[in-house]
């Protein structure tokens, strides 16, 4: 069993703060939007918690951004510039999840600190980190102070559009969470990737690369 130091401390701290915030934001978000269905807290409490966690997420985003910019490891998120190899890599990875994994093939991707994500992960996380999270934070901010940011809100097409975007992304994140957690269990053992996210070290069997 060889150990690869895959997740540096700032990344692990960022990840778990993110995870907790996401869960609570989803719960309070549901509480804000569907009060007629869930009645866990009062609307006001849900809004207050949601606002605080929104800012936690905002600052957390900057931990991530600054770490990757400073460490120069941002390129782990950048897919290959060659469209051909990107498509090939994606198809290879999709083939693995859709077929190879069932017949006992090995994961075509081997995580190293410099090449952490497979091409599908790269595309997904780049979209999430560079587009969806900033948009979610921005729309959240616009709704946090509707009056103060009214000019920006109007520029975006009005509060209904801003809210709709926020809700659509919230639904996407909720939906993605299931896939994300499930994929995290597809390491060489069910909890291998999850353990690594705590310890920083991804264990990889000597005889072959990890999943």
């Amino acid at each position: 069993m060889k150990k690869i130091y895959l997740h540096p401390l700032p990344v692990r701290v960022w990840h778990w703060i993110n995870a907790l915030s996401f869960l609570l934001l989803i719960v309070t978000g549901l509480q804000i939007r569907y009060r007629d269905v869930f009645k866990l807290t009062s609307f006001k409490t849900a809004v207050d918690i949601h606002n605080i966690l929104g800012f936690v997420l905002l600052f957390n985003f900057f931990i991530w951004l600054i770490y990757y910019l400073v460490s120069g490891k941002f390129n782990i998120y950048i897919p290959e510039f060659s469209l051909r190899s990107l498509i090939e890599g994606s198809i290879r990875q999709a083939r693995y999840y859709g077929y190879g994994i069932f017949v006992g093939e090995e994961n075509p991707h081997h995580s190293t600190p410099d090449n952490k994500f497979n091409p599908m992960q790269q595309m997904a996380y780049l979209n999430i980190m560079a587009l969806f999270i900033p948009i979610q934070i921005a729309t959240g901010l616009l709704m946090w102070d509707v009056k103060g940011f009214s000019q920006w809100t109007n520029l975006a097409g009005g509060i209904k559009i801003v809210d709709s975007v926020h809700v659509l992304l919230f639904l996407f994140f909720t939906s993605f969470l299931f896939v994300h957690v499930y994929l995290a269990t597809l390491g060489h053992s069910t909890f291998a990737h999850i353990k690594a996210m705590f310890s920083g070290y991804e264990e990889e069997p000597e005889h072959g690369p990890s999943h």
């Binding site: 939007r33 006001k44 069932f102 946090w144 009005g158 209904k160 559009i161 809700v167």
Partner: protein, 609 residues
């Protein structure tokens, strides 16, 4: 020579019997009739011819002197006789009429006192007349028991006596008479002038003030009939004097009337008269009149609504009071027309404060203003008005209310501060660039026949598709429409029932919940040129419709008015997300024999090696 006696034989000639005055013509010598006591005078013919002209001349010369002597002598004798007569007559009449309590009963059972205070009569302009000068049917010998139907008939009949001295020309020379006595039911003279106490109008009244002159008649019981209505023309002088205009002359306001002029005016109704007279106020209060001109009340009047209030409806006519009077709970004039609203106000925190003596507590005009009254629009929050007094309201809300700024903008103060009222969402048609209302005419112009179909009452109200069409049609014409939403109250009267601060709604859940009642009633409001708003029912489903994302992009309550289609997308996404691991795990379980076989196969291969 010329004197003869009866029984004396005389010659032919003319003899004048001095005793009887007869003249006897004898044509021959004859005995004069009668005894010696009867004296005769012979009138010589030549003598008559000479004396006749001389005495005639003398008579003519002395005639003026004689006349003068006769007049002086006789006049004094007549006057004495008349005085004697009058005092006799008066004494006789007053024998009975100076007794108090004597009454005459008319056929209709009306009673009138026949008691006369002699001294009153003596001092009147008619003091020189005798009783029968006017009561001509009564004489010293005869006192007929006149049978009159009523007091009025009695007065009318007796007034005819006035005409024996006061000719029609004399009477009609006065403008007021021209109007008063030429009518069919003209009042008898005594109605205005009194009967036994007639004072000298021409002397006394002309020097009196203008108001006193008018009040001579107008403090009496006067009525003006117009098309089935009766207008009292009686002025209570005490009320007039107490008013802020107490020192004004009548003609200051009734400008066409004076001591000399009393034009005959006709009005269709009492209301028309009131409206016409109220126009006079602007003479002294031009700035107030200008404010009134732009008001909803003035607009209503312009549109022909005669019930719209004019100056006198609020301030009174002759009883115009101080400003403070119309600002008291009992004196506020608005309640005359807005009773239900006033009752709602009375129960409010403002009304109760006023009732309990807090003089600075607001009353109708404090919020609605007085003369420049604009319509209070249900589709707009009264925020600016409320904050006129509650200056720190914005800061206080900020302390606890998330997004207080947008709440204060989109939620009418009343929506929370009248906690028990039913709420309604009002969507105002505005231009999204300028924020101004889009006029009804403009909406109509661009929607054409569609406007009518839009506004026709539908079971559920205007649908989302219709609003979307409207948005597009106006957009095609270059107007970016926006429906500016305000959460207000369903019933405007309830807006006045403001509760004490502690009872105001503070629970966000009252609105931020899809089950909230706040969004179950929706109206679209279009502001008409006169400042009113026309409201059309809108299907409340519009608030959560995808079609309203653009036309209604500014009105949104988290949880309360969420877009329904996003919920469906959400369920699909989450179910999709959840199904990935479920399907994948299932497939892994199903395919585990394959992997197991492959693993064994691989082990076998390695073993061989």
């Amino acid at each position: 020579m010329f004197r003869f006696y009866g029984g004396q034989v005389v010659k032919k000639g003319t003899y004048w019997n001095l005793s009887s005055g007869e003249s006897i013509e004898l044509e021959y010598e004859k005995v004069l009739p009668g005894n010696r006591q009867v004296r005769y005078l012979k009138v010589p013919t030549t003598g008559i011819f000479i004396l006749g002209p001389i005495s005639g001349l003398l008579f003519i010369c002395l005639l003026p002197l004689m006349s003068l002597l006769i007049v002086i002598t006789l006049l004094s004798r007549i006057a004495v006789a008349s005085d004697a007569l009058k005092s006799d007559e008066a004494a006789m009449c007053m024998g009975c009429h100076s007794t108090q309590g004597v009454v005459k009963t008319f056929k209709n059972k009306e009673k009138v006192s026949v008691y006369i205070e002699e001294s009153h009569f003596k001092n009147t302009v008619h003091g020189f007349l005798t009783c029968t000068s006017c009561h001509s049917t009564v004489s010293m010998d005869n006192h007929p028991s006149a049978q009159y139907a009523s007091k009025k008939e009695f007065a009318t009949q007796l007034s005819k006596a006035c005409k024996t001295c006061h000719s029609n020309e004399q009477v009609l020379a006065r403008p007021i008479h021209k109007q008063a006595i030429t009518r069919a039911n003209a009042p008898p003279c005594s109605d205005c002038h009194g009967s036994h106490s007639i004072s000298k109008v021409s002397g006394g009244k002309e020097t009196a003030s203008n108001s006193q002159y008018c009040l001579t008649c107008h403090k009496k019981d006067l009525n003006l009939s117009m098309k089935g209505e009766t207008l009292s023309l009686t002025i209570d002088e005490t009320i007039l004097r107490k008013s802020v205009h107490g020192n004004h002359n009548c003609s200051d306001c009734h400008t066409q009337f004076s001591k000399k002029e009393h034009p005959l005016k006709t009005f269709g109704s009492k209301r028309e008269l009131s409206i016409s007279v109220a126009g006079v106020c602007k003479g002294c209060h031009p700035e107030k009149y200008k404010q009134y001109q732009g008001s909803i009340h003035s607009n209503m009047l312009m549109q022909g609504n005669l019930n719209a209030p004019v100056c006198t409806d609020c301030h009174g006519a002759h009883s115009v009071g101080h400003k403070e009077l119309v600002e008291t709970i009992s004196g506020v004039p608005c309640r005359k027309c807005h009773e239900a609203t006033f009752e709602a106000y009375k129960s409010s925190v403002h009304g109760q404060a006023k009732i309990n003596g807090k003089n600075n507590a607001p009353i109708c005009s404090s919020c609605h203003s007085a003369h420049e009254m604009r319509p209070a629009l249900a589709s707009r929050s009264p925020r600016a008005t409320c904050m006129g007094c509650h200056r720190n309201a914005a800061e206080l809300h900020k302390e606890w209310l998330p997004n207080s700024g947008i709440h204060l903008e989109a939620v009418a103060c009343t929506a929370c501060h009248v906690p028990d009222a039913e709420r309604r969402v009002y969507l105002r048609v505005t231009d999204s660039d300028s924020g101004e209302n889009i006029s009804k005419a403009r909406v109509k112009q661009f929607l054409g026949a569609n406007y009518e179909s839009l506004t026709l009452a539908k079971a559920n109200g205007i649908e989302d598709q219709q609003l979307w069409d409207m948005y597009q049609k106006l957009g095609d014409s270059g107007t970016k429409m926006n429906l500016t939403g305000t959460l207000g109250l369903n019933d405007c009267n309830q807006s006045h029932m403001l509760a004490p601060k502690g009872k105001a709604l503070k629970q966000c859940d009252k609105c931020h919940d899809a089950d909230s009642k706040s969004f179950k009633a929706v109206s679209m409001a279009i502001i008409t040129p006169n400042g009113h708003e026309e409201r059309y029912n809108v299907n409340p489903a519009v608030l959560g419709s995808m079609f309203s994302i653009l036309p209604l992009n500014q009105f949104y309550a988290l949880g309360g008015t969420r877009i329904k289609i996003l919920d469906i997308i959400g369920i699909l996404m989450v179910v999709g997300g959840m199904s990935v691991p479920i399907v994948h795990i299932t497939l892994r379980i199903l395919t585990s024999p394959i992997r197991e076989a492959r693993r064994l196969n691989k082990l076998r291969k390695e073993g061989r090696r």
